[in-house]
Amino acid sequence: MEAGSILNSIIPWNPKRSLCRKPSNFPRFVRASSSPQSQEQKRGYRGPKPTRDWVADWVRNNDDAVRSLPIYVGGASLLAVLFNRTVSGIAPVADASSSQSRADLLTLSLAVTNILTGLVWLSIRPKSISVVNPEGVECRNICSRLPDLVVSELLWAWESLSAVTCCRSLVVIYDSICILQIGMAAESRNDGEAVTVDASKLMQGSVYQGVMRSGAQSYLANLLLYPGRSELPFLPSNTQAVILQPLGDKGIAIIGGDTIRGFTTSDQSWIAFIGEKLDATLSKYANAVSLVMQDGI
């Protein structure tokens, strides 16, 4: 049985689909469901939420405008206060003696607070970094004699990473052989096929040794600045970021991304846990893997 058929029989997974459904969809869901359970009534009852989501959606869609909004509001109020004072014929002197002046001062302070909040919001705007499409060829090389369960777990890891993060290439090396090379790979000059992974050469290199010595994940957020990238010739040449995740002490997963600093802290911790799981699965089936090694020789 081809392991790929497992994933083909599952609904093609698009993470953008059906995230954060608003409860306003419930009536449609009620009609479509054939279940006579009382859930629909109970859930359709949570009506008030859509109003909150509307604000959130509006802010998210007009991010820049909302960031400068307090500045404009504060600035306009400041001018309005000064205008009010001049129009009413009050001398523009900042003293707190009269009621009017106190009210003016308080309003001015509020206006300044708003302006400063707007400036702070502008300062924390994340820099948008563009995606760089990796140059290379698509490949899908899976070690053929692995048990189905292992293969489906590896493919699951690839599907998850490519769907949720900016990962575009995945290479898994375990027990000195490359058991998975999937996604975009560098194009070999000879035949236009993907460059194969030379596991033994990689394992002698400093990148692999360094990661294995520390035993911790290594995140190369901007691969172009990293001198060791020559040891990863199988990745597309314009791969922007790479995560090197050790799988126990016998393997490594190399995850290439298409955006500089594209992997968030959350992604990193998820990848670390996935690495542990892959290591557990692979070491359990280590017999099968070592069989492959013998056949390979």
Partner: protein, 292 residues
């Protein structure tokens, strides 16, 4: 299999990319715009500061200032009798609306990209931490369930997790189960609760960023504020009546509001997908269900 989590809560921070936070102890804020280069490269990060008081979130400062100055305005209006000129009234109206706007600012700021990290989920009081799994599952599935529940609790802002696959349950974290009952009874009680709510028939993911106390389901611990349910749906056989089959669901609850960002939900869906892969694998191999 009954290993309880020692410290299941890891606060997940979305890293702020630009600028560094500067620490100042005084309230005075000086906008040093003169030491910047052109207009586009204005370094405004100098305006960001923290008092260093633990538990005091500086992003809520506009709210406190709004409340404080708004009440001072009202005090000023009423405490000092004498005629109130129209000019003063205008200023006060403007001031009060500005105060209202300042109060709303932290709420708006929460939805901006790269905004402040979410509140940390607090441990609910009065609920016990439990880890229970149906007995009727294979070892592979047991390991996967244990790993998945552990990872979900550690990596998302959650307090409780429930995974249901074809009726087999695995729960971990804080749950409002009845005290002093055996594990089998807890599972049966949960199954009844799920049946009552009808969670097994969900076809779409559900996200409640803020649940009111009275709307929280009975099995969830008190203080649950966010809830996310991700059903496991796969394409059924071509000759089956329905297009999609629901194999189960993953439920996560947190005591913090807006606990799950889009990325968190995507990762949770990835974990749910893992169980789908297992289900289909066993379907194709044995055709019966999970072997024991």
């Amino acid at each position: 299999m009954s290993v309880l989590l020692a410290n299941p809560f890891i606060k997940f921070k979305i890293p702020l990319r630009s600028g560094a936070k500067t620490t100042k102890n005084s309230i005075s804020i000086s906008a040093r715009l003169d030491n910047s280069q052109q207009q586009q490269q204005l370094n405004l990060s100098v305006l960001r500061f923290t008092f260093g008081i633990p538990g005091f979130d500086e992003s809520y400062l506009p709210r406190w200032i709004g409340y404080g100055f708004g009440s001072l305005l009202i005090l000023n209006h009423f405490a000092f009798s004498g005629s109130v000129t129209p000019a003063q009234l205008r200023t006060e109206v403007l001031g009060l609306s500005l105060a209202g706007f300042s109060v709303a600012l932290p709420y708006l700021g929460k939805f901006l990209q790269g905004a402040n990290p979410m509140d940390r989920a607090t441990l609910p009081e009065g609920a016990e931490q439990i880890f229970v799994m149906s007995q009727n599952v294979s070892d592979t599935l047991k390991e996967d369930l244990a790993w998945a529940t552990y990872v979900l609790l550690r990596n998302s802002n959650s307090v409780s997790v429930l995974i249901s696959i074809r009726g087999e349950l695995c729960i971990r974290g804080y749950w409002n189960s009845p005290n002093g009952v055996s594990k089998t009874q807890v599972l049966e009680w949960l199954e009844r609760q799920i049946e009552k709510i009808g969670l097994s028939d969900l076809k779409d993911s559900l996200y409640f960023p803020q649940i009111a106390d009275d709307e929280v389901w009975e099995m969830l611990p008190k203080g649950t504020s966010s809830l996310f349910v991700q059903p496991l749906i796969r394409a059924s056989d071509p000759n089956a009546k329905e297009m999609e089959m629901v194999e189960g669901f993953v439920l996560l609850a947190s005591s913090a509001r807006y606990a799950y960002s889009e990325k968190d939900k995507a990762w949770i869906k990835a974990i749910a997908y893992k169980f789908l892969v297992l289900v289909v694998h066993y379907n194709l191999n044995s055709g019966i269900g999970f072997p024991n």
